[in-house]
Amino acid sequence: MRVGFTVNGREETADDVWEGESLLYVLRERMGLPGSKNACEQGECGSCTVLLDGVPVCSCLVAAGQAEGRRVRTVEGLAEGDRQAPIQEAFVECGAVQCGFCTPGLLVQAHDLIERVPRPSDADIREALAGNLCRCTGYEKILAAVRLAANRRAENP
């Protein structure tokens, strides 16, 4: 089948898509966007998180056909050209990235949080990121990065 949707502001179509393919597979293998990660492919780790019509979803659990005609934003769409989004800058600065495999999903999820909640508490951050597994960091530096990005955003809205 043919599937078409908007990815990071661009219209994209993919042909010869098998009906069982996930949105994650189509993004990674058919649209050249491997930023969203395939860590569990069962909706448990959050590494494949994208925004579907502005709402965070595990793209491994969305059939590609369900994205037809909708808006998808992936980690590749967070930066504006060469300028990283504040959450991306904060992850690099704070040491929130080690192996980085969980990072794309965490960035999309954290970006969504700081867009919705201006000054999230630590408990808010933990709750929002509870669906994103990280095996390297123990999450301390991730918390620091989200706090930093949220504070910067609140100071320069």
């Binding site: 969203s36 990283q84 690099v92 192996c99 980085g100 495999f101 123990g138 999450y139 301390e140």
Partner: protein, 772 residues
Amino acid sequence: MSVAPARAPRDIAAPGGGGVGDSALRPDGVLKVRGEFAYSSDLWIDGMLWGATLRSPHPRAKILSIDTSEALAHPGVWTVLTHEDVPGRKHFGVDHTWDQPVLAFDEVRHQGEPIALVAADHPETARRALEKIRIEYEVLEPLTDARRAAFDPAYPRVQPRGNVARHQPVRVGDVDAARELAEVVVSGEFQVGMQDQAFLGPESGLAIPAEDGGVDLYVATQWMHNDLEQIGPCLGLAEDKIRMTLSGVGGAFGGREDLSMQIHAAMLALRTGKPVKIVYNRYESFFGHVHRHPAQMRYEYGATKDGRIVYADVEIILDGGAYTSSTKNVVGNAASLAVGPYVIPNVRIDAYGVYTNNPPCGAMRGFGAVQACFAFESMMDRLADACGLDPVTVRQVNAAAEGSALATGQIIWAPLPMAEMLQTARELPMPAPADTGDLRDLPGGVSQTTHGEGVRRGVGYGVGLKNICFSEGYDDYSTARVRLEVIGGEPVAMVHTAAAEVGQGLVTLEAQIARTELGVRRVVIQPADNRVGDAGSSSASRQSYMTGGAVMTACQAVREGMAALAAARFGHARDDLSFTGDKVVSESAGVLGTIAELLGDAVIEETREYHHRPTTGMDPVTGRGDSHAQLALCVHRAVVDVDVDLGLVKVVELAAVQDVGRILNRVALEGQIHGGSAQGLGLAVMEEIVVENGRVRNPSFTDYLIPTILDMPPMRLEILENADPRAPYGLRGAGEPSTLSSTPAIVAAIRDATGLALTRVPVRPEHITGSS
């Protein structure tokens, strides 16, 4: 040579600045946050096929026949391969063990053992073709009793050479005579469940057949040259026909020391003449790598009433599963570190690694020391109770220090301020009581299982001692090539090693070392590959020490070359010259010029190997030996709240005191201690591969739980810098120690809250409620 993949590893320019000691930023950080970093599962090339692996559903069975004809006829399938198609040696194995079949024949010895391979034009096609491979088995009763494997000569053999991979005794003094001196005797039997590395990036990679009959392999591994030593003979190819490039590694933690898909993808690529990509899914990943050895441990300590230990009698059985993997070295660690950093005059230790039909076990962060640490720290708490001492004091009374001997007789010739570190941990401020007004602060969280009733707080301590670098006489070294030249008017240092960046931040450190040693600002890290010498494994907390040491010495050689040029050009003595901020500086005359001007078109390139001081083996009868290159210590204090009615645990705070010798990059270092502590927390309260009769019951992230951000408490770190004079910059390897000590600290805290004995990790709710 063939074409490179469209998505592939590339040179990475290290941004910003920062020398040794600065919290320099990761060179790969920007690529990683932009989603542009090429992980091994992201590789892509025109016309590539997808490989898939058929695995045994049985832990033990004879293979009577394999019929691939129907699978081969499946539309979209390019080839189906079995053991008959392995071009060279039929077995591989990490560390020259050579006992694991590339593809099983005659017999399968564990659930998930690979039997056949398919290459197809779509991953789903490949999976469906696997279902069409017909295999006739004679299913046998799996041999799963590690204790019988160790001691019962009548137990059937998993391996023809016997069921004990290694027995390592350690003997000091006279334990039987020392029993007479003991005023207090404590004993216990402890168990550690099978833990999984659970790295997030699944096993994956791309094999591209080359025109010379060789293959280009893009893989995620911890040790490229050891992979190569196995891949070459199995493919029947000379090593120069195999060009390996490290692709982005999504975590490792020991789980990528053994080969997974490397030989398989290469076989498919060579057979089809097409590039082949293999990516495991999470289910397959649980079968695609070795795990942490589960352990059964019996300990008995005798002490005087003041808490001084007079003897230790220890038996440790580690279940390695069907193949050797790293079991022998894991046994060496468990034996040499069985009683940890405590001075005990009479010791009898017997550590065994055995073969069974349980899932294969090998390397995982902490490597044999984790299991023993849980047992000996549990023993220290029992001893404290028996002597009426507090847990910190009993540890301080028996603590090793610089100049002390380990159980093996090895003298600790570097600072080991253990008693002081325990004191620091004890005196750190305590976290506030739980806020019963916010459910998220309580065990069970928003499940609303309690509003504070039944919740008790506990505090516990743990001390872990880990050997750093390879032990037991192994000639451990790393290699680095450093090239200095002017690019775009600026001096640029290119650093090339085969060392695996697995997330730990080695590439950051390499750039810092190059800046410090060469005085240049721009550093480029080249992809790790096998066009440069062996770097050893990214394991044993060794890469800062070993590859850091190799980069340091290679840079120093380059600097010598620069100094020779400068001495000739400026007419100053070499020892008057230094290089900093891209400039040539004379101590007597100030800035003489720029490095760029000095170099002009010259290129200075040097390659150096770095070896740590030699170690010795352990005596096979007494265990005596100077077997470890370096030792590192971490002390944890854990504070927990336990809902004793439901058995739910919330770790409230973890505090760690670790001596790292010298902080090379504080932010990266803290990340290592945090991450190691988190994996120790996982082992303490949630992580276990549940095995029943040789079968894994929970191969998914739905059922194998690793800590989330809700499970991890805030962490307080106290980092000490008592330099090791033998190590580069005085550093001490830092990746593993916190993984050891956090587990016993957390369990001790749960015991403190509940009064329960808790002899097994992970501690489950039913162990606390008594309902199991």
